[in-house]
């Protein structure tokens, strides 16, 4: 593979709603540079918007890390880690259910995000915080 720089790791501190926009724009820009199509760019930006909004809403502050996955067995991809030290999620299975919200949301954020990406892991514990990792692979390039 040609040694082109497609972007180094990005770190976006999440402190408020402006950062939701910043994080999703950053993820979209990297996805675009990596050759993802418009639909995947939209899926990735929307997933990041959901996860970072959950940080603002439930944990107040946190961090988003966005990086390319290259030379991996599955080809080019993007990985986004959204981490906070908020209250954590007591019942992840429940939180992943369509329509479950502890607040006034639609409860579509987490289950919807799962449908938009290829891989999703949630590491959380009450009182410790929540880290959600999502990955999406560029199928077009893998062929």
């Amino acid at each position: 593979m040609a040694a082109t720089m497609v972007g180094a790791d990005e770190h976006i501190p999440i402190r408020g709603e402006d950062d939701i926009v910043a994080a999703r724009q950053c993820a979209r820009a990297l996805a675009k540079r990596l050759g993802f199509g418009l639909l995947d760019q939209s899926r990735i930006a929307t997933a990041v918007s959901e996860l970072t909004r959950n940080v603002v809403r439930y944990a107040a502050t946190g961090d988003a890390y966005i990086r390319p996955l290259e030379g991996a067995p599955r080809g080019t991809g993007i990985e986004i880690v959204v981490a906070d030290r908020g209250p954590g999620i007591a019942d992840v299975e429940l939180a992943m259910r369509d329509g479950y919200s502890s607040g006034t949301g639609l409860g579509m954020g987490l289950p919807g995000t799962r449908r938009l990406v290829d891989e999703m892991e949630i590491d959380t514990a009450p009182g410790r915080g929540t880290t959600v990792t999502i990955r999406k692979w560029n199928r077009k390039r893998n062929r």
Binding site: D18, I20, L39, S42, T46, R53, L106, M108, G112, L116
Partner: protein, 146 residues
């Protein structure tokens, strides 16, 4: 930043989102649209999202609420210019914008609004014509029931 201007053309309010919307911008737009419908008595709202690249569950829900609340105020809302990628993402996310009328572009949106407004007027006239008759028959049949 990202304030959305609302202009009135005839009986229709037109709002074109030109920037990435923060949550607070979206909430402001929602309140201002309702206020503008009430103030101007507009019968239609055209909300153009051609420049919007990302619609997540927050904005998706808000669009549904805009359509519902303007309807209660007597105006039909048509959302135009939703990009194909955004539409597919919304469905995958689990939001289908049920009850939200959409059109491909502002031109088609205006045409749809005209049709809907004509329909509304016809229904209004129909109701006005039937109302005295209905009221009369109700008095006759359901006397004392209601």
């Amino acid at each position: 930043m990202a304030r959305v201007p609302i202009i009135k053309v005839g009986e229709t309010l037109i709002a074109t989102v030109q920037d990435e919307l923060r949550d607070s911008d979206a909430l402001t737009l929602q309140t201002e649209l309702s206020a503008a419908v009430e103030r101007t008595g507009a019968r239609g709202v055209l909300l153009d999202l051609s420049a919007v690249e990302t619609v997540d569950s927050f904005l998706g829900r808000l669009l549904g609420e805009v359509a519902a609340s303007t309807r209660l105020l007597g105006a039909v809302t048509v959302i135009t210019g939703i990009q194909p990628a955004v539409a597919i993402t919304l469905v995958e996310l689990g939001l289908e914008l049920k009850g939200v009328r959409t059109a491909l572009n502002p031109e088609k949106g205006m045409a749809l609004l005209r049709r809907l407004q004509r329909l509304q007027r016809l229904q209004g006239e129909e109701n006005a014509r039937l109302l005295p008759a209905r009221a009369g028959s109700r008095n006759g049949r359901n006397d004392g029931r209601r």
